[in-house]
C-alpha cells in the first residue's frame, strides 16, 4: 500500500515536471521566434533605406542633408551588435527615417514619383513591423518571465536551465519630432 502511494507521488511529480518543462520550452521558443522576427525586419529596413535614398537623390538631382543623416544612422545601425547596442542605434535610425519621410511629404515631385511611393510604402510597413515585432517580443518575454517566476514553476525553472529573457528596449528618442530641413 505504502509503496503504491510513493509510486503515485513520484509519478505525479514526474508529470508536473514534464508539464512545467514543456510550458517553459513553449514560452522560450516563442520569445526566440519573436526575436528572430525583429531581426528579419531590422535587416529589411537596412536593405531598403539605401534604395529609397538613391531614388530620392535621383528624383531631386542633389544629395540633401537629411539623406546623409539617414545613411549615417543606417550604417551605425548595421555596425551595432547585440540588443544593447542595437536598441539606441535602431532608435536613432527610426528618427532619421521619419525625417526622410517628412522630406518626401514636403516635395510634390517626390510624392508623385511612383518608385518613391512604392519604397515609402515598404519602409512604412517595415517600420510598423519592427514596432509590432518588438511589441510581441516584449509581451512574450513578459509572460515567459512571469511564468518562470511564479509558484510552483519557480521551484524548477532555474534547475531545468531556464534563465530570464531580456526585453528589447529602443530608448525613447522616438517622441522627438524630426526636423525637416527645406534646404
Amino acid at each position: 500500500m505504502t509503496t503504491w502511494i510513493v509510486v503515485g507521488i513520484v509519478v505525479l511529480i514526474g508529470l508536473w515536471l514534464i508539464m512545467t518543462y514543456n510550458g517553459l520550452v513553449g514560452g522560450r521558443t516563442q520569445t526566440q521566434t519573436a526575436w528572430s522576427q525583429i531581426d528579419v525586419q531590422l535587416k529589411r529596413r537596412h536593405d531598403l533605406i539605401p534604395n529609397l535614398v538613391q531614388v530620392v537623390k535621383d528624383a531631386m538631382g542633389y544629395e540633401q542633408e537629411t539623406l546623409t543623416k539617414v545613411v549615417q544612422a543606417r550604417n551605425n545601425a548595421v555596425a551595432a551588435s547585440g540588443p544593447a547596442q542595437a536598441g539606441p542605434a535602431e532608435a536613432a535610425l527610426s528618427v532619421a527615417t521619419r525625417g526622410l519621410m517628412g522630406l518626401v511629404e514636403s516635395y510634390p515631385q517626390l510624392k508623385a514619383n511612383d518608385n518613391v511611393k512604392a519604397l515609402q510604402e515598404e519602409l512604412v510597413s517595415t517600420e510598423n513591423k519592427i514596432a509590432f515585432a518588438r511589441q510581441f517580443y516584449n509581451d512574450s518575454v513578459g509572460s515567459y518571465n512571469t511564468r518562470r517566476q511564479t509558484f510552483p514553476a519557480v521551484l524548477a525553472a532555474a534547475s531545468l536551465g531556464f534563465g530570464p529573457a531580456e526585453l528589447f528596449a529602443m530608448p525613447d528618442s522616438e517622441k522627438e519630432v524630426p526636423k525637416v530641413a527645406l534646404r
Partner: protein, 316 residues
C-alpha cells in the same frame, strides 16, 4: 504585456468553449434521438418503459452524426466559404499595401501569415475564415482596399486577425453546427408527430400520459431552434466586440478602426458573393440593417454606433 495575455486567454477560453460545446452538442443530439425513439416506442407498445432500445439506438446515431458533421464542417468549412464568396487569391505584387498591412498584423498577433483574397466588388467589407491559425485566410473587397487609408485598413485587418488569433472561426463553426442540428432534429420531431397523429386514433386510445409528453415534445421542438439561434447570435455579437478590442491591442490605434467602421457602416450594402449563410462573417453585416432594436436579440453584429462607443472607451 496585457496585450498578448488577453488574446492568448481569449484563445484558451475559445478552445475550452469549443470542447464544451462539442460535448453539449453531442449530448443534445443524443438526448433528442433518445427522446424520439422513446416516444415512438411508447406510442406503439402498451407497456410504459423508461429504458428504450430504439431510443438508445437513435441516440447513438445522432451522436455519431453530430460529431461527423462537426468534423466535416471544420475540414471543409473554409474552402466552402471562400468558393461561395467567389474570392480570388492575391500576391504581394497585386496588392502591396493589403499584403504589408496583413503581414504587420500577423506579426503583432504572433500568428502565421494568412492567405489573402480579394472579392471583386466596390462594396466595403472584409472577413476572415479558417479553423486554425495555420489555415486561415483574410478576404477584403476591392472597394475596401481602394477607399480606406492605411490606418483604417490596419484597423479592419487587425479585426480580422483578431478573429483568427482568437480562434473565433473554429468556435463559430461548431456553434453553427449545433444550431443547425437542433433545427434539423426539431423539424424531424414535428414531422414524425404529424405522421404519427394520422394513425393514432385507430391504433389505441386513452394513453393520456403519452399525450402530455407529445405536447411537451412539440413545444420543445418549436422553441429549441429559436432559443439556439438567439444564443448563436448573442455569441456572434460578443465575438465582434472581442475582435474590435483585439484589433486595438494589435494596432494600439483605436482611431483607425473607428473611422473605418464609420465608413463601412455608411456604405454597407449587399453584393455578389454574400448570402444569408455568410452575412455573419463580415466585419459589418452587408445584408441586415442593424439597429439598437434588432441588435438586442436577432442581429449577427452589434450596432456599429455601439461598437464605436466601446472603442472610444479604449482611448479613441
Amino acid at each position: 504585456m496585457a496585450g498578448t495575455a488577453n488574446f492568448v486567454e481569449a484563445q484558451a477560453a475559445n478552445r475550452r468553449s469549443t470542447m464544451l460545446l462539442l460535448a453539449l452538442l453531442t449530448a443534445i443530439a443524443a438526448g433528442f434521438g433518445y427522446l424520439i425513439g422513446w416516444a415512438l416506442q411508447n406510442e406503439t407498445t402498451d407497456t410504459f418503459q423508461v429504458v428504450s432500445p430504439l431510443g438508445l439506438g437513435l441516440a447513438a446515431i445522432m451522436a455519431t452524426a453530430s460529431v461527423g458533421w462537426s468534423l466535416i464542417s471544420l475540414a471543409f468549412g473554409a474552402r466552402m466559404v471562400l468558393s461561395m464568396a467567389d474570392a480570388t487569391p492575391v500576391t504581394k505584387e497585386q496588392a502591396p499595401q493589403f499584403f504589408n498591412v496583413a503581414e504587420e498584423m500577423s506579426i503583432a498577433a504572433g500568428v502565421p501569415m494568412p492567405r489573402l483574397f480579394v472579392m471583386d466588388t466596390d462594396a466595403l467589407n472584409a472577413f476572415a475564415t479558417g479553423t486554425s491559425t495555420h489555415n486561415a485566410a483574410i478576404v477584403a473587397t476591392r472597394g475596401l482596399l481602394a477607399t480606406l487609408n492605411r490606418d483604417e485598413l490596419q484597423g479592419v485587418i487587425g479585426h480580422e486577425m483578431g478573429h483568427i488569433a482568437n480562434l473565433d472561426t473554429r468556435y463559430m463553426t461548431i456553434v453553427g453546427v449545433t444550431v443547425g442540428l437542433i433545427a434539423l432534429v426539431a423539424d424531424m420531431i414535428l414531422r414524425t408527430l404529424q405522421w404519427g397523429s394520422f394513425n393514432r386514433d385507430s391504433d389505441k386510445k386513452g394513453n393520456s400520459g403519452g399525450g402530455i409528453l407529445i405536447v411537451v415534445l412539440i413545444v420543445v421542438a418549436i422553441f429549441a431552434p429559436l432559443a439556439a439561434k438567439a444564443v448563436q447570435l448573442a455569441v456572434s455579437r460578443q465575438r465582434e466586440y472581442l475582435a474590435d478590442a483585439t484589433s486595438v491591442q494589435f494596432t494600439r490605434n483605436p482611431q483607425g478602426l473607428i473611422s473605418a467602421l464609420t465608413k463601412l457602416d455608411a456604405a454597407a450594402k449587399p453584393f455578389p458573393g454574400v448570402s444569408n449563410a455568410t452575412q455573419h462573417l463580415f466585419i459589418v453585416n452587408p445584408v441586415q440593417k442593424i439597429t439598437a432594436l434588432t441588435s438586442a436579440l436577432m442581429a449577427t453584429h452589434p450596432e456599429t454606433a455601439d461598437r464605436i462607443a466601446r472603442l472610444r472607451n479604449l482611448g479613441g
